[in-house]
Amino acid sequence: MKVTLAMKPAARSFIPIEAESIVPKNFLDGTDLLVWRGNRELRLDEVFSVSVEGDADRAEDVEVVLSGETSRLKRVGEYMDGGRITILGNIGMHCGNFMSGGTIEVHGNADGWLGREMAGGTIVCRGDAADYCASGYRGGRKGMTGGTVEVFGRAGDFLAESIAGGTVTVHGNAGDMAGAEMRGGTLVVHGDCRRPGANMKEGSCYVYGTAQGMLPTFRKIGTVQHEGHTLIRFAGDIANRGKGNLFVKDYEYLD
């Protein structure tokens, strides 16, 4: 089954729309779903032109395709456990939060908190991901615990904050505090980033570019070969009695 949701142009286009109902399995029972614009509850078809092709008995066989100006559409794919969501443009905050299965593909950019507290499944973002990609929630909860996030563009600050499992790969540069408070899992940044691995406890963080503002509390161990890269291996963050591994191609201290 393929559900196509084409966003209608809206008069008050700046008020974000929260659409946690847009999850493949919900469409097994039809398209009679609700979303919120600010404090107003709206029917799905008030916001989108909805069309459905084919049918399905299980979420795995549902694909939802979103088109139009979706950059302020929040919480799409929240708690998703199977099926597929394809977003042709940009997507708003909290896409794929708490996701445990299935696939989300974003062709444009993703706003903050992409895949927050994600436990499984796959998110692919062809553009850039903003801050807090694959992170946890306020209060120091665990970030991503399983699954895969792959960003082909850049990532913002606090990438994979408190990640505890799963894999995050960013092909471009990442911002400040990548992998802060890591306690497991794997983070790979193909480009540069600032202050990677701050306060990390466990897990592995790879930076194929330069670690800017490298923190002074990582102990240099030696060099290793990894996926065709020669990387310098550090252990830390010793400020936090951490046993994490940080691998960087190059680094600069703020000395």
Binding site: Y137, R138, G139, G140, R141
Partner: protein
């Protein structure tokens, strides 16, 4: 004039010696009366279990430390969120809910009176502000005197009357209800990062021992004629082998009051530990219960631990730091100048953890081994042992050996060798539960004469009607029915108004705050004592005139005047 008649109530009212009688309850303008006119609104209780409104004699619901628990826990707030609905406000939180969350959830369980367990005098105004937003229960606050400089100096000088005078002045100033001692002396030592080991260990600089603090303040409490006794959180909370310290503390207490106990020992579960470290940690509930059985001057509450996530918060700063070092989770501490302190950390009690399993057993053992239910009241030291919403489950456990055995089978297997629980056959009855959840609590707090904890004429019309016919339920088998009934009243009536019905609150009420004003002679008025004033001005950072809590902070003002013997 509003009249209400509750018909066909199946009443247990221990303070009046009523044990399961069908009767009508007449209510006029918020008070229970002998009879009302035919015009009265009628509620047919249809033989359902009807009790005086629940009283919690030790809970942490309002004030600086509780609010800091909320402040630092956005993850806890995500649970239990409800929107604004009709007259009801939005709520958030599980182990440390918002004030409305606390109030509504307590109300649904039939609770109508709450005692905040720890209020620092300097920050009392905060507690009272939150009371205003706890609309469906009457409230009162234990006031902390465990590390009070002026009091420790007076004790060092051997002047118990001055101790009483300082307490009297402070209670009046901060609109406090009773005296709380949390780890006496330890909270002062903690302001140097130290602690006291037990009751004979002197407090740095002040050179008084916890034993001297406890004894002098117990005496001062009676000099002031306060409704409640001293409310003690013993030294050494939560450490293996602390039961001997607890017994030592309880042993200090003479029987000084005919109407009630002389000492209320709180959350004794946390103080009933044997062993010398965490490896040989075990239950010492038996010696504690035997000791209390022989001493009518002692009342305690359970401080039951239940499994799951919660937030611990206490004025016992050093204890919280030790917990922090064990768990390495987030840790807050807040020392209060010249008075006391507090600490907070989140915890998860796990069934698979041996220490946690033993703690769970100890609380139940205390309640089951103590002969008189009037001497061991039902609490979790909310939220330290568990959030108060677990009370119905605790009632189920106390009433059903079968339920206890079923739970016991799920906890750490080594627990059996460390605790007496599996051998205890006792199952509490309805009357005993009524004592432990309202009558005993009201008596211990000394508020039965103020119309709390019973349904006699003149009492506040606080009534809890549970959807349960006790003749039709065998609690030792149907414990789930018991749990369900105590989780949601059919009706909760507060001051003559139905405030909750079948799990839903109905109105935005307004609380009354109980506080004490001991009348002392001119010579013992600390407000005029030059030495007290001088030290206050030099060492506090708030002016003495700005310290007292104004009556604007009391929604409904229930001042209790006492005749002090000083």
């Amino acid at each position: 004039m509003t009249e209400l008649l509750v018909k066909n109530a199946y009443v247990i009212d221990p303070l009046r010696g009523i044990n399961a009688e069908t009767m009508d309850i007449a209510i006029l303008d918020g008070k229970i009366v002998e009879e009302v006119s035919d015009a009265a609104e009628v509620i047919d209780a249809r033989g359902m279990l009807t009790l005086p409104g629940g009283v919690d004699s030790h809970t942490h619901i309002c004030g600086t430390k509780v609010n800091f628990g909320r402040y630092m826990s956005p993850e806890d707030m995500r649970a239990g969120r409800t929107p604004r609905q009709g007259p009801l406000h939005a709520t958030s939180g599980y182990s440390v809910p918002t004030t409305y969350g606390n109030s509504y959830r307590y109300s649904v369980m039939g609770y109508t009176t709450l005692l905040e367990g720890a209020m620092a005098p300097l920050e009392a105004r905060h507690t009272h502000e939150e009371f205003i937003y706890t609309p469906l229960q009457d409230t009162m606050a234990n006031t902390l005197f465990d590390g009070n400089w002026a009091i420790m100096e007076a004790i060092r000088d051997g002047d118990v009357k001055r101790v009483a005078a300082i307490i009297g002045w402070t209670l009046r100033a901060v609109k406090g209800f009773a005296i709380k001692l949390t780890n006496p002396g330890g909270t002062e030592a903690w302001q140097w990062g130290k602690n006291v080991s037990c009751i004979r260990d002197p407090v740095p600089y002040f050179e008084v021992t916890p034993a001297e603090i406890i004894r002098s303040i117990v005496e001062a409490n009676e000099l002031l004629g306060l409704p409640h006794s001293v409310h003690l959180h013993c030294n050494n909370l939560g450490t293996p082998g602390n039961y001997s310290c607890t017994l030592g503390s309880l042993g200090l207490i003479p029987d000084l009051n005919k109407k009630r106990q002389t000492l209320y020992a709180t959350h004794v579960q946390f103080h009933a530990y044997g062993g010398s470290d965490w490896k040989d940690f075990c239950s010492k509930s038996e010696p504690i219960a035997r000791f209390v059985d022989m001493r009518p001057q002692i009342v305690m509450d359970m401080g039951q631990v239940m499994f799951g996530r919660t937030t611990t918060m206490t004025a016992d700063g050093p204890m919280e730091f030790n917990l922090y070092r064990l768990h390495h989770e987030k840790w807050s501490n807040h020392d209060v100048e010249l008075e006391t302190g507090s600490g907070i950390i989140p915890v998860i009690y796990r069934r698979k953890n041996l220490v946690n399993s033993i703690m769970w057993a100890i609380g139940l053992e205390l309640a089951l081994l103590t002969k008189s239910p009037w001497q061991c009241l039902l609490t979790t030291d909310n939220p330290n042992g568990a959030p108060f919403v677990k009370y119905p489950e605790i009632i189920g456990l106390l009433m059903s050996k079968k339920y206890r055995d079923a739970e016991f089978a799920t906890i750490h297997p080594d627990t059996e060798a460390r605790v007496p629980l599996p051998a205890i056959e006792r199952e509490l009855d309805w009357y005993e539960i009524a004592v432990m959840t309202r009558a005993g609590q009201a008596k211990a707090l000394g508020i039965q004469d103020l119309g709390k904890g019973h349904l006699g004429p003149g009492a506040d019309a606080d009534v809890a009607i549970y959807p349960l016919k006790i003749g039709e339920v065998d609690p030792s088998v149907d414990y789930q029915k018991v749990i369900d009934a105590f989780s949601r009243t059919e009706y909760t009536i507060k001051r003559g108004t139905v405030v909750a019905r079948r799990g839903e609150c109905l109105v935005d009420g307004s609380n009354a705050t109980f506080w004490v004003r001991p009348k002392v002679s001119e010579a013992y008025d600390m407000g005029k004592d030059p030495d007290f004033i001088e030290k206050f001005d030099r060492y506090y950072t708030v002016r003495m005139r700005n310290y007292p809590v104004q009556e604007e902070y009391l929604n409904r003002n229930r001042c209790i005047e006492t005749e002090a013997r000083i």
